[in-house]
């Protein structure tokens, strides 16, 4: 990707969010506008500076509706990314490309959802099996058979991963324990001051075996916005820029949405591998350089698979890699220092990007010492995306 080369041209200049709750009591559009306003304030920019907007195809608030509320007269760049949470880092990637090419100057990426009080993704959405699209046809191989929730779809791959590599439910639980420990110190997290033990994880009920309740991220209401502009412009703004050292999207062989069951090796997430290879190449870095990572944690097993795909450890060795608190604060590679979607909130991965920015700025409540780059990933099991911020 030539526009995002070894000479980074774009940076995150502002982050903003609403409170994270189970019932916002407000429209998703209003949440989006609140988060964007907060992000612009954080950057020290005005709404009139914005000339680009990027969101998810799943977002209910169209760019034009947001533009109307922000009072934007002209919008020069707008884009929506598909594939659910896989869009998160891609919103920033598209914004960076727009900035790098001069298409836009200030692009805001946003995601607003009343996912807990409104449409809950964890429930069965029977209509998805009846859409007259390739996605609807794909879903028709799984939904009518009863495989109709994200947890169940992930559980199929998690079971195979356990079989092939000997991973256990306790291994998955260690991801939760780390996330909840970090969330416990984060006042913005839903699970602030509420850590869990591995025993509590093991006692939580089955959702879709081998996934327990505490292997599944929470469901949340809230919004997050990220302001992207050029590195040069960002340098004149309020914060030290979080430079976008690399940004990539990825889809793998035989890719499906959550149900890539027909690949030769099912105990893997090759789409993250596609992203990882681009990230390391663009940034000229390798895993050893990374200070901390925000790995999309809708379901715990996929954090293990991501560690392997990103090259933090060899395939099948994530269980060993995360043992002994390695992914907790003070460990070898602290993960999801905001508490992740397991602990902070499920804002479709966008809150993870905000945490990566805080780590670069040095303002995280669980600040990891050092000045190494921060890796962020987006929804996994779907076509996905990733960033390196430094």
């Amino acid at each position: 990707m030539p526009v995002i080369s070894n000479e980074p041209v774009a940076a995150v200049a502002g982050i903003g969010a609403t409170e994270f709750s189970k019932e916002s009591g407000r429209s998703e559009l209003r949440l989006a506008v609140e988060a964007i306003t907060a992000a612009l304030d954080d950057a020290g920019l005005a709404a009139t500076d914005v000339d680009g907007l990027v969101t998810f195809t799943m977002d209910s608030s169209a760019e034009i509706a947001v533009a109307r509320e922000l009072g934007l007269d002209e919008l020069r760049f707008f884009s929506q990314i598909g594939y659910g949470g896989g869009a998160a880092c891609a919103t920033v990637a598209h914004a960076a490309m727009a900035v790098a090419t001069g298409t836009a100057d200030v692009v805001v990426c946003y995601r607003a959802l009343n996912e807990r009080s409104g449409r809950r993704f964890g429930q069965v959405a029977a209509a998805l099996s009846g859409m007259p699209t390739t996605s609807g046809i794909d879903n028709g191989w799984h939904y009518p058979m009863g495989l109709a929730t994200p947890a169940a779809m992930v559980a199929m791959i998690a079971r195979r991963y356990m079989h092939v590599y000997g991973a256990t439910s306790e291994d998955f639980g260690r991801v939760t324990v780390a996330a909840r420990r970090h969330a416990a110190a984060n006042p913005a997290a839903w699970f602030y001051q509420r850590p869990v033990t591995l025993e509590e994880h093991q006692q939580s009920r089955w959702i879709a075996e081998p996934l327990r309740l505490l292997d599944c991220c929470q469901e949340s209401d809230g919004a997050v916005a990220i302001v992207v502009t050029s590195v040069a412009r960002a340098r004149g703004l309020r914060w030290r820029p979080a430079v976008i050292a690399a940004a990539a999207q990825g889809s793998g062989p035989g890719q499906f949405i959550m149900t890539s069951y027909y690949r030769d090796d099912m105990a893997a997430l090759p789409e993250i591998g596609v992203v990882a290879r681009q990230l390391w190449r663009q940034a000229g870095l390798d895993p050893a350089d990374v200070r901390t990572a925000i790995l999309y944690d809708h379901f715990t097993p996929y954090v293990l698979l991501q560690l392997e795909e990103l090259g933090f450890c060899a395939r099948g060795e994530a269980c060993d890699f995360i043992a002994d608190g390695a992914i907790e604060l003070g460990g070898r590679l602290p993960l999801n220092t905001h508490g992740g979607q397991l602990g902070e909130a499920y804002i479709h991965g966008m809150n993870g990007i905000a945490e990566a920015v805080r780590q670069v700025r040095g303002t995280s409540v669980n600040q990891v010492p050092g000045d190494g780059p921060v890796v962020v990933t987006a929804g996994t099991g779907v076509p996905t995306s990733g960033l390196i911020l430094s």
Binding site: L147, A148, W206, Y262
Partner: protein, 480 residues
């Protein structure tokens, strides 16, 4: 007419809790020791076991109407007459020994009796047995004096059922010989208020998820509707592919609609046990399997008839189809059968119903008195559960032959089997299911799935666990 709610659900539960808190009833001695005449009467009525005693002329159960049975499915080896007294009792007779008899009555501390009285008082007068799970810890020998005690295991309700609103009541009986446990039985009944006028209260039509079908995938769904699994096969290079698409990813040829019909076998490649949240049209938990087919593709489907804890990767399965309606049938999977038992067809004459009920020492009127049976809502007298259990056990042991011990029978009762009907027993060996446990004790087990169909549908679905050697005596030989 609304049945007055004599007790609130909370009151019912509180009363049930008090009964459960009493624990096991006092052991009640069987009227007689285990004895050959009673065994012989039972065999005479239930019949069908090779190597045990039965006079061919009196094996009523094997009276097969020639016009209803395909010639090649009738077991030819009608049991030879054998008058040598057995030394052990058929395991399914366990309950027979302690039945109260014609003039018997329940003990005052019998938890099932107490629950029945409670439910009658609460406005649920009708009763139907739904499940009977017997586990045999060792064989029972002639001459042994058995005793039984029972406790209330579980009460759940009130639940809406097809029969009417009711409660499921489960008791656990334990039989002992000289204080040594020899068998247990978890027995579940539904005590209900018959839904007479409100037949329309049948379960609301469940919404069912359908598959979106395109011109590229229609052949697959036409196949499932016709009872076959079709795997896309490229006409040019032969590459197989599932799910199908319009262009061969291997050679680039556009699809021509060619496919192979899969053998319908496979192995579980991965699986999910779905507990939560609810799935339209499914009663949870369900197992969804990803199956690897010998044709080289993988395919999902619900895995039917296998307890979740017995599923494992590598389990051999065979294809089945769940028909949703005239247009749509979903692929599904069942545990692969290693062998199929020859069917046994039983002409359920009134004599058979009465003889088997009395041979199991069950004097409930609905099993011998037509008027009382009709008053209870049936069309005629119907088989009792002890007979059904006995039929299942004898069906399997007759097929298995000597040296095979029945370790457990798990019975789920469906439609009543009434006099004048025909009961057809079929069975399959699903041994792979039985070897799922790590313990060596289970390795030698075979699991036989038995279905008994009658005119009203499935009368019984059962699982029989067979060990290929005699059950070791004493508790140390039991489960680890």
């Amino acid at each position: 007419m609304s049945a007055a709610q004599a007790m609130t659900p909370e009151e019912v539960k509180a009363a049930a809790d008090r009964i459960a808190a009493a624990g096991d009833s006092r052991p009640r001695l069987a009227r007689d020791p285990v004895n050959w005449p009673t065994i012989r009467t039972w065999l005479e009525a239930i019949g069908g076991a090779a190597g045990t005693v039965a006079d061919a002329d009196t094996v009523l159960a094997d009276t097969v109407p020639a016009d209803t049975v395909p010639a090649d499915t009738v077991p030819a080896d009608t049991v030879p007459a054998d008058t040598v007294p057995a030394e052990t009792a058929p395991p399914a007779m366990i309950q027979v020994w302690t039945m109260p008899g014609l003039h018997g009555s329940r003990e005052s501390d019998d938890p099932l009796g107490a629950m029945m009285a409670l439910m009658n008082e609460a406005g649920y007068p009708a009763v139907i047995a739904t499940n009977c799970d017997q586990t045999y810890l060792r064989e029972v020998r002639v001459g042994e004096q058995l005793a039984v005690s029972a406790r209330l295991l579980e009460v759940t309700g009130p639940k809406r059922t097809a029969l009417g609103e009711g409660w499921f009541v489960t008791t656990r009986s334990t039989w002992t010989a000289n204080g040594e446990p020899v068998a247990t039985m978890d027995f579940r009944v539904l005590k209900y208020r018959p839904a007479r006028g409100e037949r329309s209260a049948a379960p609301a039509a469940q919404p069912v998820m359908r598959s979106m079908i395109s011109a590229d995938t229609a052949f697959f769904w036409e196949g499932t509707a016709a009872g076959e699994l079709r795997v896309q096969a490229c006409e040019r290079c032969g590459a197989r592919r599932h799910p199908p698409g319009p262009r061969c990813p291997a050679c680039g040829a556009m699809a021509t609609g060619s496919y192979v019909v899969a053998a319908g076998t496979g192995e579980v490649y991965s699986y999910v046990v779905h507990h939560h949240p609810p799935v339209p049209g499914k009663k949870l938990p369900i197992v969804i399997a990803l199956v690897e087919l010998p044709e080289g593709v993988r395919m999902t489907g619900e895995l039917l008839g296998v307890a979740p804890e017995r599923v494992r990767i590598g389990l051999p399965v065979r294809a089945d189809f769940t028909r949703i309606d005239d247009d749509l049938a979903l692929p599904a999977w069942r545990a692969g059968a290693q062998a199929t038992l020859p069917p046994r067809v039983i002409d359920v004459t009134p004599t058979f119903v009465v003889a088997s009920a009395l041979a199991t020492r069950d004097y409930q009127d609905v099993h011998h008195d037509r008027d009382r049976a009709i008053a209870s809502g049936a069309k005629d007298i119907f088989l009792n559960i002890l007979t059904t259990t006995g039929l299942v056990q004898q069906y399997v042991t007759a097929w298995a032959g000597p040296g095979q011990s029945v370790k457990a029978i798990s019975i789920r009762l469906g439609a009543p089997c009434q006099a004048g009907d025909t009961l057809t027993l079929t069975g399959e060996v699903t041994s792979a299911v039985g070897t799922a446990a790590e313990g060596t004790a289970e390795d030698s087990e075979r699991v036989i799935a038995v279905t008994g169909r009658c005119g009203l549908g499935d009368h019984v679905t059962a699982t029989v666990r067979l060990a290929d050697s005699r059950i070791p005596g004493g508790p140390e030989g039991g489960k680890g």
